[in-house]
Symmetry: C2
Subunit: 331 residues, 2 copies
């Protein structure tokens, strides 16, 4: 169980020294508006009654490519200078950022190269291919991914668009936070899944820079609890293993995302594999939105800690919906 101690916000952090500002996120929102979906924030009556809090889902599973990653990728690609852009973009990703970058590159009509772990789900590999890009497969760990991406960059002259440790990517993901504020101005708490921290740092900056009293929690798999351990140790820790069912969260924080998270997050809620699978089922059966396991981790955190949120208006970010048929069978 998580103590959910209300952490004092570290007011010593100067926002001007962080990788992104509120203004960057606002600029991103304007830049990407025509290319992303303003996803609905959907209230679930059944869970609200069950848990005695007002439960809303920010449905990024309905975003293009089925994940919030479409936001950061298109913001990064549209931000490229016109002399650099034609050489293309390169990245590594366990899946959704790969498809998002392939889509963004095709919108700007530039080449994309993507490195993916060989154990990526079949549907995520297929999504990249649907944009005419053949993924380069690698071993499923951060070092192998980063090395393969660097090699491709050196060979092609393409710009590396990191899946999370990139200011334009972080600013793009932060638009999720702006939309939650617009869609539910009276929100009390937001729960966001954390892998590399691109979404979390963006949402934190979007919300905390304006409304520091709104609680923002991260949700993380126990099998990849590196962010929770990083918060405790004060430095970026690595996941102990790379096989959580929440395949989108099998990575560590970046040096740009970590300082923002450390300064602004209220707490990190760690959830078991069983809780993640149960939440994925709850999404299908009770919420009727398709979430992939990574996309259900924030709901798992609410389910395991609902008593803490009694009487509150809670926004749960459903980060992605690319549940493949193998994944369905496992449920």
């Amino acid at each position: 169980m998580n103590p959910l101690h209300e952490k004092q916000i570290t007011t010593s952090m100067s926002h001007s020294h962080s990788a992104i500002s509120l203004r960057d996120i606002q600029t991103a929102a304007a830049r990407i508006a025509a290319h992303v979906i303003r996803t609905p924030l959907v209230r679930c009556e059944q869970l609200s009654q069950r848990w005695k809090c007002d439960v809303h889902f920010k449905a990024e599973n309905l975003q293009h490519v089925g994940a919030f990653k479409a936001r950061g990728a298109i913001n990064a690609v549209l931000s490229l200078d016109s002399d650099v852009a034609p050489r293309g973009v390169v990245t590594h990703s366990s899946g959704n950022h790969a498809a998002a970058l392939a889509r963004a590159a095709s919108l700007r009509q530039i080449p994309a190269h993507v490195v993916m772990p060989h154990n990526s789900p079949a549907n995520k590999l297929a999504a990249v291919r649907s944009y005419g890009v053949e993924p380069v497969l690698c071993e499923p760990n951060s070092a192998a991914r980063e090395e393969a991406a660097r090699k491709l960059r050196d060979e092609t002259g393409a710009t590396l668009i990191h899946p999370f440790n990139d200011p334009q990517v972080m600013a793009g993901q932060g638009t999720v936070g702006l939309e939650i504020l617009e869609q539910l101005p009276e929100v009390d708490a937001v729960i966001v899944p954390v892998g590399g921290g691109g979404l979390l740092s963006g949402v934190l900056m979007a919300i905390k820079s304006q409304y520091p009293d709104i609680a923002v929690y991260a949700a993380e798999p126990e099998w990849a609890d590196d962010a929770a351990r990083s918060l405790k140790s004060g430095r970026i820790e690595l996941p102990a293993r790379y096989d959580t069912v929440a395949d989108g969260l099998r990575t560590h924080l970046g040096d740009l995302t970590f300082p923002i998270i450390r300064a602004l997050v209220n707490d990190i809620l760690v959830v078991s594999e069983e809780a993640i699978l149960a939440a994925t089922r709850t999404m299908l059966r009770d919420v009727r939105l398709v979430a992939e396991p990574s996309g259900a981790v924030a709901l798992a955190a609410l389910a395991e800690n609902y008593a803490h949120f009694e009487g509150q208006r809670v926004a749960v970010v459903v980060s992605g919906g690319n549940l493949d048929l193998d994944g369905l069978k496992r449920l």
Copy 2:
């Protein structure tokens, strides 16, 4: 295949003689606003590109009780006179109307009695029980359902709220049409599943009374193509069998819904069981909304006839999302 001949609208129909008017639907919208979700209309980029038309989904799977039925049921229950209401309500339904009426009755704190076919999906039986109502089971045909409901009404003095052949129910369902017009004013075509015709007649009246040039198509399972045959014969026909996978559509039209449908619908698109199952899978995998088979019938009709809709803005009504785990396994 369906010829999709553009049927001349029968202008001889006097709207003032039909069971509901546009005004009834507008009144219903105001009455039920606090008790229903204004469900999102979600565009799907992937299917839009695949079929060269602009595909939007009206996500009534995200409605309370997971189906549009919440609208008509609460409109009917709130419309009851205060001297009649305390004796409660009674109905028969293959599922979603049952849960919707149980919910509506619990909101008004009056008793509800519901008759359901014994082969109703387990999750739909459970949904009714979740509002404290034990379903009365009957044989899976219209005659048995109606007789059991009449008997309960006679015993209890409760008001019968028919699942579709009721003006207040039809008006409530019609609010789906009003919302589509507000959310996508430039819509060219709307596709609506038809069972008893409550949703279809309501949507037709909402749209055609204001914008007769917007095409409204019904979608119906081949195994329950009674509405298509009724349109041809000019009288209400019965389904030939009662076992389509689209369990919400195993019923015939009513004498209040049929005249509106006959006068206003552009055409009825009939789809196979295979097409319905394929569309249910497409909803899960590509749209990332959970649809029950009945809720995917309109998408099946689009998938089978997409060439007809080239270049058009199409709103596909996802009528319900109560897909149970047995249903999932079948996919």
